[in-house]
């Protein structure tokens, strides 16, 4: 069964067609890279998959289940987690509180108005474990504002991984990182077990090339090229879009 299938998905803002009848089929355990220049509609495609935006036409299917009409918050419980290109975390809370909130999002406990959140040892323990997974356990009790950009990026990934997603969507996880930080994040992403299907957006083709098995090139909202890494890199259209030849 396919992990994630997008069928003839379209979305326009006013007169601007941002997603133009996109088809996408991602198999379980696959590592898919979606690349394209600025304004290609990559993030919009993610927003359509996660439910932050409603498509004008087309369907989204998760492990055979049509989720096109499922509200975004509910899709998380069906196994989709994402990170954001522009980091959106809770800056005045500690790292461990940030990850705890992420875990709480998938727990029934989130409706509980009488328990003490700080007293939920199991939940907080899992949050610390998730931070350890991205190598940040030593900063767990530090407020987020006192961490570096690269560290926040890893907190984002820790939050997404903590939710134990079946499909993980990474929106430009390398944007704004130094070369060294990129290597750390790439290593981290490469270490994610195969039971998690990963779809990654990147603007810059070189960075994430090693990671991808299959690559989809998006341009003006359309899928222009799709195939294995070698096929896509060699394709004349890819060269045209990226090098302007």
């Amino acid at each position: 069964m396919t992990a994630l299938a997008v069928n003839r998905l379209s979305k326009s803002f006013g007169g601007l067609l941002v997603t133009a009848s996109v088809n996408l089929v991602v198999e379980p355990g696959e590592r898919r890279l979606i690349i394209g220049p600025n304004g290609a509609g990559k993030t919009t495609l993610f927003n359509l998959i996660t439910g932050e935006l409603r498509p004008d036409r087309g369907t989204v299917t998760l492990f055979g289940r049509d989720i096109t009409r499922t509200p975004g918050w509910h899709r998380v419980h069906l196994g989709i987690s994402r990170t954001y290109q522009i980091i959106t975390l809770f800056p005045h809370d500690t790292l461990v509180r940030n990850v705890t909130l992420s875990l709480l999002g998938r727990s029934r406990l989130r409706w509980n108005p009488v328990a003490r959140l700080d007293g939920q040892a199991a939940l907080v323990g899992r949050a610390r474990a998730a931070l350890a997974r991205v190598g940040l356990e030593h900063l767990a009790d530090r407020p987020l504002v006192q961490t570096s950009y690269g560290e926040r990026r890893r907190v984002e990934i820790a939050m997404a991984l903590a939710q134990e997603p079946r499909v993980l969507l990474l929106d430009e996880p390398f944007a704004g990182l130094s070369l060294e930080e990129r290597r750390d994040v790439l290593q981290l992403v490469a270490g994610i077990p195969r039971d998690v299907t990963i779809v990654m957006i990147e603007h810059d083709m070189d960075v994430a090339l090693d990671f991808a098995e299959r690559i989809t090139v998006l341009h003006f909202g359309q899928v222009v090229v799709e195939g294995t890494r070698g096929e896509v890199v060699a394709h004349p259209r890819t060269r045209e879009i990226y090098l302007g030849e």
Binding site: T88, L101, R110, N112, P113
Partner: protein, 327 residues
């Protein structure tokens, strides 16, 4: 140390009728407490939910009017209180369903409109509300067989309810649901992407807020033994909002301090100056300029800066003033 201060404050509050010096002051204390409950209820939405309501006097008034009507129809106090709270909760659910179609300024405008509708009904639907003349209530209820007619007794009953309200607020803020609510205030999109049903969280917070507004409305009714359209006017909604903001929204004690400020200025300044609203306005302007986060976070911040002179302690205590004050 903290426990000691808390115990001392409790003893001081409980003994207030003995040291306050007369029923005039005891009554002012009762007013402060009942408005503090109202402000605490509104603070759930404004401070923790990031949703500014300008129609909360509507909920406050619906509870007061309902109880007054039920009492006038010959029902007992218990039935009147239960009926009034049920109606206030139903009204809160309806208000929330309408107002939560928007956030930010949209939410403000819808709550403002609903509040004005309630005021219009109170003012014009004379067969039910008795219009401008209001409704008078014959007696105060009894608590544990004790009459609440005397100012001190009523004060103690109000204090009891106030402490329960305060404890429930503290519990909510520290709970997983409280963390969810604050999350929807700061990053609603992110919270949805983490699996939180943002609308439902806000809806439940509105109900909780409406419940305590209703309780405050009941105390208001029994305190004055009278309710009129003034209780549900826009100025009443604005006043309680100013209590929350001036004291410090999103803190536990801010709304209480704000309620104290407004009630005291109202009662003291009005004895000397006819235009006491002017004094209150000037105070609000000063607060906004010098302590934009409100009195409680502002004073806590000043105190921190004054005590944390040594650099080592400064490093430890790097906390946003507004984040710590309420805990």
């Amino acid at each position: 140390m903290k426990r000691l201060a808390l115990a001392a404050a409790l003893v001081l509050l409980a003994a207030l009728p003995f040291w306050a010096g007369g029923s005039f002051y005891i009554n002012i204390a009762s007013q402060i407490l009942l408005y503090a409950i109202f402000a605490l209820g509104l603070n759930v939405l404004v401070g923790y939910g990031g949703l500014v309501s300008l129609g909360h006097a509507g909920l406050f008034g619906i509870a007061a009017y309902s109880a007054a009507r039920l009492l006038a129809a010959g029902h007992g106090h218990l039935a009147a209180i239960a009926g009034a709270l049920t109606l206030a909760l139903l009204a809160a659910a309806l208000f929330a369903a309408l107002a939560l179609r928007g956030t930010g300024i949209g939410f403000v405008m819808i709550t403002l409109a609903i509040g004005q509708i309630v005021w219009g009904v109170a003012y014009r639907w004379i067969s039910i509300t008795n219009g401008d003349n209001g409704i008078t209530v014959g007696s105060r209820p009894q608590l544990f067989g004790l009459s609440l007619a005397a100012p001190a007794r009523f004060y103690w009953a109000t204090l009891l309810v106030f402490l329960v309200a305060l404890a429930s607020m503290q519990m909510l803020v520290a709970s997983p649901f409280g963390a969810s609510l604050r999350g929807t205030r700061d990053q609603p999109r992110r919270m949805a992407a983490l699996g939180y049903h943002v609308w439902m969280i806000r809806f439940l917070a509105f109900l909780f807020s409406g419940f305590w507004s209703g309780i405050a409305g009941l105390l208001f009714l029994y305190y004055n033994q009278f309710v009129s359209p003034q209780a549900v006017a826009l100025t009443a909604s604005a006043e309680v909002l100013l209590m929350v903001i001036s004291g410090g929204s999103g803190t536990l004690l801010g709304p209480v301090v704000g309620a104290g400020l407004v009630v005291v200025v109202k009662n003291v300044a009005s004895a000397y100056i006819e235009r006491w609203n002017f004094v209150l306005g000037a105070i609000f302007v000063a607060i906004v300029i010098f302590m934009p986060e409100g009195l409680v976070p502002g004073v806590v911040g000043l105190w921190r800066r004054a005590t944390a002179r040594t650099p080592s302690r400064d490093l430890v205590g790097v906390v946003e003033p507004g984040k710590e004050a309420g805990r």
